[in-house]
């Protein structure tokens, strides 16, 4: 009898103040009871699960970031410092691309908008920018692979016409792709 009293006392002491322990409450999600969502905010159960979901989200995004580079056949892009040393190419870029690092990042995650905006389809893969890369990444290869993927996405209708049109009007498409792009835009 005394032991039972002691056990109950211990259990009561273990319970944090303000927390609810309604075992009969229905589950809303695995491991989460209804009151954790709708009633007692003080026990911060919702927050805990929110934090777990956020951590899961961050881990997933990191995995996607790395995974996309591999799937897109541009794994080298993972090693980019994003230091922008390649911007030093300047006049040595025959087609006047100013922000090469942007192209590397866009190639890593298949960001067609950033690639087109920064003149990715204008690049002629001369390799002049490569000597500026502190990591010696094969920039022409990276840009070439992304160009092919962009054209593929264009054919599949994954890129909106307005995006391509802007790049076309700014002269950001080189001779190798201009006919196909004009056809895509239904231009005479």
């Amino acid at each position: 009898m005394t032991e039972d009293k002691d056990t109950k006392k211990d259990e009561q002491e273990d319970k944090p103040i303000g927390a609810r322990f309604e075992e009969d409450q229905p589950y809303v999600m695995p491991g989460i009871r209804r009151f954790q969502f709708f009633t007692n905010v003080n026990d911060r159960a919702l927050t805990k699960n929110l934090n777990r979901a956020a951590m899961l989200g961050i881990a997933s995004m990191l995995a996607i970031d790395v995974g996309k580079a591999v799937v897109n056949k541009n794994p080298q892009t993972i090693y980019c410092y994003e230091c922008r040393a390649c911007y030093g190419t300047q006049d040595k870029c025959p087609v006047g691309i100013a922000f090469q690092a942007e192209l590397v990042v866009s190639a890593r995650v298949a960001d067609y908008n950033r690639f087109l905006r920064n003149g990715g389809l204008k690049c002629i893969r001369c390799g002049n920018c490569q000597s500026f890369c502190v990591q010696y990444l094969n920039l022409p290869q990276i840009f070439g692979t992304m160009q092919l993927q962009t054209m593929e996405a264009l054919r599949e209708g994954k890129i909106p016409k307005s995006m391509v049109k802007k790049a076309f009007e700014k002269g950001l498409i080189n001779q190798a792709f201009i006919d196909e792009v004009a056809e895509f835009l239904e231009m005479p």
Binding site: E82, R84, C86, D111, N113, G157
Partner: protein, 562 residues
């Protein structure tokens, strides 16, 4: 699109400020992920309305593009190696070496100065790598840690100064440090900028800033927050034999071996003697060698990994990625540029605020805002707005970059400084005053002056007066340190028991120092032009006000309330 940018930027800034002031009591990662989701959703709806569904569906890709993988993987690799060193008693070996060094001619003081500046010597891409490895060692110098070499006050100063140095060492790092982002942009005008145009200004101002931080912690912070460091001091009753036992340290052979591998890995990562290879590869290879030769387990290595900075960094990049995709940073650029149209500020005043942006809003990793703000600064130059010339841009870049790289130090949002606060058993915010003051009043102006009078001699051949410039740099540095140090002494002596009065006193000190920092920056950029110097002073005061207001009045009260 412009309206969308203002909306997403407002959501981001308001949420971050509320989190900084603990009005949103959630971990920073959660807040950043939620902000990213909300902004992504808003951006998605705007894109559907303006460009259609095909455009909107590309938005997540643009968001993920904001994640900069290099610092995350470098940090993980470094922590992996630090875990191996810890498990194989490498720190004990280091303690033995330090115990021997203090008996050498440089003594204990000289040894500690070297240790404090080890991060800037090693210059790794993230200061947390070396901080995670060496902070437990510094803790062991105290009575609680076992060596009993330093008192509580000395240990607070040592840990604080070391952490300050570490959380800024990514600036001069040649192996993927934040400073390289600025060097990349300056490469558009200075052909050899990527050889390290920002490295010396960053390293020099960081060393001076570290010393000022130590002084601030010693004579101001400990008076402002007297009961908020729970480190144990030297016991009042301790026998000679007991004291002798405490200071006697031994290390196993594998400890020395793992220490050698650790140091060798850092040297190989920095100097790349076997050809170019990613720093992560070197660090992980070092960890594997420790597993093989020093009998560490993979579990030991994994134990060294601290997840918070990694996740905080990644979530920050996600939030920045959404802002970039939705035009939030373009909106910020427009707002900053429009500041320069205000007569009382002008370009000089706007730049004085701009260089302090990341001290005003310190996030968990300097790269989050740097990746967004450096392009804005670049556009202020001849590339677009023509507000400043290329050399002026380089001066502002030097000042901006050192403040940016040190911004994770005082950040309560999972910044590296919290590692130091943890080791010194202090409340979050204890170091904030010292860290933000050193960044704002010391590091930014010194970096600007260094760039103006020293680095142009090296990187611009038309400025060959080396010895004369060296003298000017020395004089300016002495003046900046003298004024700040002198005022610090006055503030320290005036601190009493009235918390509000003490804080107001500190705020006034911040305002005057911030004004001087802004004026020095304007002087470096525009030389002797009274209007610009006055505008720089006003800009500096505004920045200092925002920074000073964020320094907590009390710490213990926050703990009791929680």
């Amino acid at each position: 699109m412009e309206l969308l940018g203002y909306i997403t930027l407002a959501i981001f800034i308001v949420t971050m400020v509320l989190t900084l002031f603990r009005k949103i009591n959630l971990p920073v990662q959660t807040v950043l992920v939620l902000v990213s989701l909300v902004n992504l959703l808003i951006g998605f709806l705007f894109r559907i309305a303006s460009d259609g569904f095909t455009s909107a569906i590309l938005l997540p890709n643009e968001m993920i593009g904001g994640i900069i993988l290099h610092p995350i993987t470098a940090l993980l690799g470094g922590l992996f190696l630090a875990g191996a060193l810890e498990a194989t008693k490498g720190f004990d070996a280091l303690k033995v070496i330090i115990a021997k060094l203090q008996k050498s001619p440089i003594g204990l003081a000289g040894t500690l100065v070297i240790i404090i500046n080890l991060p800037v010597i090693a210059s790794l891409p993230c200061g947390r790598i070396i901080a995670a490895a060496l902070l437990p060692l510094l803790f062991s110098f105290g009575w609680e840690g076992g060596m009993g070499l330093l008192t509580k006050t000395q240990l607070v100063v040592l840990i604080g100064a070391f952490t300050r140095n570490a959380m800024g060492s990514c600036g001069p790092s040649p192996i993927g440090g934040v400073g390289q982002i600025g060097e990349g942009f300056l490469g558009a005008f200075f052909p050899t900028a990527s050889d390290g145009i920002l490295r010396s200004p960053q390293a020099f101002s960081l060393m001076i800033g570290t010393a000022i931080t130590a002084l601030f912690l010693k004579i101001i912070s400990q008076k402002l927050y007297p009961n908020d460091v729970t480190l144990r001091d030297k016991p009042t009753t301790i026998g000679f034999e007991e004291e002798k036992k405490i200071t006697k340290i031994k290390a196993p052979f594998r400890g020395y071996l793992s220490l050698i591998i650790f140091v060798a890995s850092l040297l190989i990562a920095i100097f790349q003697p076997f050809g170019k290879m990613p720093v992560q590869t070197v660090l992980v290879a070092g960890g594997i060698l420790i597993i093989l030769f020093c009998r560490a387990s993979i579990q030991d290595l994994m134990g060294g990994i601290i997840l918070l900075p990694v996740t905080a960094m990644a979530s920050g990049f996600l939030a920045a990625g959404v802002l970039a995709a939705t035009g939030g940073f373009d909106a910020l650029g427009v707002i900053l540029k429009s500041l320069s149209a205000i007569q009382i500020l002008g370009v000089a005043g706007m730049l004085a605020i701009f260089v302090q942006m990341q001290t005003i809003l310190p996030l968990s990793c300097s790269r989050i805002l740097t990746a967004a703000l450096v392009p804005v600064l670049y556009l202020f130059g001849p590339a677009k707005f023509n507000l400043i010339t290329w050399p002026q841009l380089a001066i502002v870049m030097a000042a901006y970059m050192i403040n940016a790289t040190t911004s994770c130090g005082p950040s309560p949002l999972g910044g590296g400084g919290t590692m130091g606060e943890g080791q010194m058993r202090a409340e979050t915010g204890f170091i904030k005053g010292a860290y933000t003051f050193a960044s704002m009043a010391i590091m930014a102006p010194i970096a600007a002056i260094y760039m103006k009078f020293m680095n142009f001699t090296v990187f611009s051949p038309e400025n060959p007066e080396f010895s004369q410039n060296l003298l000017v740099l020395a004089l300016f540095t002495l003046v900046i340190i003298g004024i700040s140090g002198g005022m610090m002494g006055i503030v320290s002596r005036s601190i009493g028991k009235d918390v509000a009065k003490n804080w107001n006193l500190q705020l006034i000190y911040f305002l005057i120092s911030g004004g001087i920092a802004g004026a020095v920056l304007a002087l470096a950029v525009y030389e002797i032009k009274i209007l610009q110097i006055a505008q720089g002073f006003i800009g500096g005061v505004i920045a200092a006000l925002l920074i000073g207001l964020m320094v907590p009045k009390t710490l213990a009260a926050v703990r009791r309330a929680a």
